[in-house]
Subunit: 137 residues, 2 copies
DNA sequence: GCCAATTTGTGCGTATGTATT
DNA sequence: GAATACATACGCACAAATTGG
């Protein structure tokens, strides 16, 4: 994988696309560390900001999580719990506010479900760990 | 609203919080233009990157949309269509890939529903314009 | 069509702070 | 303490898109 600075596609998107391919193909497995910013800078000859932007893009897609002082890691996708809800239930989804992110411990790039039961009561669930199933008991 | 550069809270988060308050309170109404980067730089005495980061934060939350050459605009929230699905339907949500974003015309900060019907067929819906209702016909 | 002004996008450099190992 | 890694913040320059004259 190389970066073409003369391409119409911005360098940070090219870089993100390359990393995304590695994640999708499994060559970067869930839990595994993504190359550090310095790594990307050296290997691909880009500025640090360019590397950071590629990382930020994947983080916003929910593909990786970043921890200061440690690095970025490929997110787990499979371990979702199926939650069962009865007829009349309404489900919305949106990105959480920073307060909701803190409250639920949700990383960047992860939406939340807003589930409203027939009585109008709302509950929120992080969308990376839950799947909604419509079915009576 | 002022920015305190000596606060523990980063300047761009302070700025984003101020703008978020204006949006939530309706003082910045849906469809209305958010102050430009240059405006923010001049009014609050921050660097352009700081202003851009505040904007990017709100965009990632789905609160605003940005159009190159025009500016950022407060997103509409209310106009969601209710989609009805039968028992056995499974619903997940996640952020779209860039390809899915293009395919569905979804702006940044907007998740998509992945709806799987009892037969296993998948369909995708943008989460800012759709609500899922579980109910038989 | 053209040009200028405005606004966001991309990319580089530097410096310093914070967190982890 | 040292090394590594990410976070914040400033500066600069030019590109791309839109709008208005």
């Amino acid at each position: 994988m190389t970066i073409d600075p003369y391409s119409d596609i911005p360098a940070y998107k090219q870089l993100a696309a390359g990393l995304r391919t590695m994640i999708d193909s499994g060559s970067l497995a869930p839990g595994q560390r993504v190359p550090s910013e310095s790594d990307l800078v050296q290997r691909y000859g880009v500025a640090r900001e360019t590397a950071r932007r590629a990382i930020a893009l994947l983080r916003a897609e929910g593909l990786i999580q970043t921890i200061q002082g440690q690095g970025s890691f490929v997110a787990d996708r499979q371990e979702a719990v199926t939650m069962r809800f009865p007829s009349g239930t309404e489900v919305a989804a949106r990105m959480p506010s920073p307060e909701e992110r803190r409250a639920f411990g949700v990383p960047e790039g992860v939406p939340i479900f807003i589930v409203r039961d027939p009585a109008g009561r709302e509950s929120k669930l992080r969308a990376d760990r839950n799947v909604i199933l419509f079915a009576e008991e």
